[in-house]
């Protein structure tokens, strides 16, 4: 019997020891609740925590730098997004104001967006994205929600050139809305000026200036700006009136073309009168 057992043990000792050790492992498992074992585990945990705290410092350094990079990237993305939203907000408010203008005016409006404000050699001109295909013709006034912007001077199929008030060769008949005094508004490269207004004419600082009914290129009463200052010439007979425009030509993005053209009959009579005078 002993020999058989010995032979059995020598043949299967790996498995016998394996089963024995597995049983020992399983029998230890319930001992985890005992106070002594808990103390041992707590002590072991304390030591491991100490080692881990040293390592985690390096780990945190690595993970923090990675986190900073991720946050920087996120920050850049959000900045672009905020910028876009701000842009949309501005465009939205402009378009809303244009819609209000469209509702309040009797003239049909052709909404458009400015393609470029910089045309080499043509200061004060801009190009808009509507053209003859959209029924835009030369001579049509261009406005935005703040007031008069300029006149269409050239058109192609899909684009038009607009001569704004800020063009040096732009001259526009304007009127003081309060007193009804007429004058010619021009851009001197620095400010808008109504030149040679008689000092006896009733023009005060703060008066609203609008397009004049005598103008053949724009409908009357389109807002232009307000009187900012007056400079009397040396002789004391004439005054140069400085105007601050309602339209911000720097921020200009969306405009609308007023679908009217100057009355050719009036032009014809004016030409005839001029010929008679000459």
């Amino acid at each position: 019997m002993y020999k058989i057992l010995k032979k059995f043990y020598s043949s299967f000792k790996e498995y016998i020891i394996l089963i024995f050790l597995l049983l020992v492992s399983l029998s230890i498992l319930p001992l985890n609740k005992k106070a002594n074992v808990k103390t041992l585990r707590t002590y072991a945990l304390g030591n491991m925590a100490l080692v881990n705290s040293v390592i985690s410092k390096f780990k945190n350094l690595y993970s923090l730098s990675r986190q900073v990079k991720q946050l920087e990237q996120k920050n850049a993305e959000l900045m672009i997004q905020v910028n876009q939203l701000r842009e949309y907000g501005l465009v939205n408010s402009e378009l809303k104001n244009l819609l209000k203008l469209k509702d309040s005016t009797n003239f049909p409006l052709i909404p458009s967006t400015i393609v470029t404000k910089f045309i080499p050699g043509r200061e004060g001109y801009l190009i808009i994205n509507v053209g003859s295909k959209d029924n835009v013709n030369i001579g049509m006034p261009v406005v935005n929600e703040s007031g008069f912007v300029g006149i269409v001077t050239d058109t192609t199929g899909e684009f038009s050139v607009v001569k704004t008030l800020k063009s040096p060769d732009s001259k526009l008949a304007v009127r003081d809305q309060r007193s009804g005094v007429d004058g010619i508004l021009s851009w001197n490269g620095n400010e808008f000026i109504i030149q040679n207004v008689p000092t006896t004419d009733d023009v005060n600082i703060g008066d609203r200036i609008v397009t004049s009914p005598v103008s053949t290129i724009s409908p009357p009463s389109l807002p232009i700006g307000v009187v900012n200052s007056k400079k009397t010439s040396i002789a004391g007979l004439l005054t140069d009136v400085s105007i601050v425009p309602f339209v911000d030509f720097v921020k200009l993005r969306n405009v609308a073309v007023l679908k009217i053209i100057s009355n050719s009959e009036i032009d014809h009579i004016e030409e005839k009168l001029l010929k008679e005078v000459n």
Binding site: L22, V24, I28, N32, R41, M48, V51
Partner: protein, 91 residues
Amino acid sequence: MPVIIGIIAIVLQLTLIPLISFDFILPDILLIVLVYFTLLKGQLFGTVYGFILGFLFDIFSGGLIGSAMFSKTLADLQPVISLAKTESIIT
């Protein structure tokens, strides 16, 4: 010597290896050491070695004492059997 290497493996397993974990999946270098020494020194050594390293691992990790002991003791059985099977197929 195997015990010292085993202890180093336990320390590495508990400290540095989690740094290269991916979604809590991490390599078990303790098992690699166990399999290495089991293949080198035999099944019986491997079983006892796994039992001891499992115990040390439970102590150091602060986990349930007995759990790693059981799994490491049992884990050493497989490579030897696989090796024996491979050898029998080859011969």
